[in-house]
Symmetry: C2
Subunit: 254 residues, 2 copies
């Protein structure tokens, strides 16, 4: 009989981790080793064949783990040499679609989230950034207004807009872990699979300048995002205003 996944029963990971696929477990393990200094910038990781042997995984599975680490900028590869630990400068956060806390949490800064208002139900703005379907328009929108602080400084203002489609009692229940993504996943089995964004530089108006504690007309990074979810036709929209005087926004591409 064909047996796979036998490692689950012998795994040395926590209970939660045991649900994850092997390549993600390996990915997290190596990531932790890099962050904790086991492998330092410029070091060679064990070769793919060595990792296969050590962790009793097929090389393809090891490669899947490594390719995720490449995507996240932890390592890069040189054919004929090996996988090399990359330098990671401290920026405000990767311009990825991971939640703000997870991304910025990798730095040594103190992060805080402030809910400016309780989530509320409202109508869509007539001049919304993306074209909406009739279904979305008719549903109305759940609006979240949050301010992200780094070391007590407000650096990012985030407006999130969610079509009110089959999300019973969303506005009346608090967020889980203060995280929108965790809430959607736990309460509604909604997962984000994809992010598309547009970036502009704008001048701060009075409201934004006030909230970000900067001057009117000062240059602000404006990012508009559309998250695709595993629920067909359900998108989540976000409008971010970043004060980049102190912190820049970083990202990596391969």
């Amino acid at each position: 009989m064909y047996i796979q996944d036998k490692k689950y029963t012998f795994g040395s990971y926590s209970y939660k981790m045991s649900d994850l696929p092997q390549y993600k477990k390996l990915q997290h393990l190596i990531k932790k080793q890099i962050l904790s200094g086991v492998y330092k910038e410029g070091d060679l990781l064990p070769s793919e064949n060595e990792l296969s042997t050590i962790h009793e995984l097929n090389r393809a599975t090891v490669r899947q783990a490594l390719s995720e680490l490449v995507k996240d900028g932890y390592i890069y590869k040189h054919k004929g040499k090996g996988s090399i630990v990359s330098s990671r400068r401290q920026t405000l956060g990767l311009l990825s679609f991971k939640g703000f806390s997870e991304v910025v949490g990798q730095t040594t800064h103190a992060i805080k989230n402030k809910e400016l208002k309780k989530p509320y139900l409202t109508k869509w703005d007539d001049q919304f950034f993306y074209e909406l379907t009739d279904i979305e328009k008719a549903a109305g929108c759940i609006c979240l207004e949050r301010l992200r602080m780094v070391d007590e400084d407000p650096v990012m203002l985030e407006f999130t807009y969610i079509p009110n489609l089959n999300l019973p009692r969303f506005v009346s229940k608090p967020l889980i872990n203060n995280s929108l993504f965790d809430t959607l996943l736990n309460n509604y089995q909604i997962e984000v699979i994809n992010l598309e964004q547009d970036i502009r530089a704008i001048a701060a108006d009075e409201e934004i300048a006030g909230l970000l504690q900067t001057e009117e007309e000062s240059p602000i990074l404006h990012i508009f995002r559309r998250y695709r979810t595993n629920r067909d036709g359900l998108f989540i929209y976000s409008s971010l205003y970043c004060n980049t005087e102190q912190y820049s926004i970083g990202s990596i591409f391969n």
Copy 2:
């Protein structure tokens, strides 16, 4: 005897393409089919098993092709359903590390590149954005100043800095295809494998405002990039100033 790659000899692709791996050929084929309307937004691609059969490739190879298309935002996947053609809005360009022309060329706009100066050799600025190694500092830097136009409007000002390390006669020869990447690849076998960038919003100074034909103090997107190459220790640096009044900068994450 173990034979692979037999498709090369029967391939229906051009001579140049015949050097590419199978998954890239399939990737380009499907990309072309999407761009030419064979598959439209929301359409399902043939399943992975069907594509394997049609193109006489293993499913793993098909998956490699599809995952590249996901990365570039042409499709997304739904478990249990299939691969779905994604909508692609027209933005100035993906915030990826592909060359400006390739990325913007997917739109219907007229693109022009203007060389503001001939490439020249100079010293590094004392306040360079990234920390440089002593080797880089000692080598001096090759500087390129280019202006990118969309429909006759200047939208992006690009300063590129290359350490003058084993790049004989770079400044005395013209760029191939007007492209830095093509030139580095053809003349020096240098390939870019990775890009790291930081983004800020700044106020235009007199020089930048003049070149981008906008007003002083108007908000400008400033992107600083570090490209990693296949040559160990050789990085290419770029400083981009974008006027985002008309065009925003787009990107996709998975």
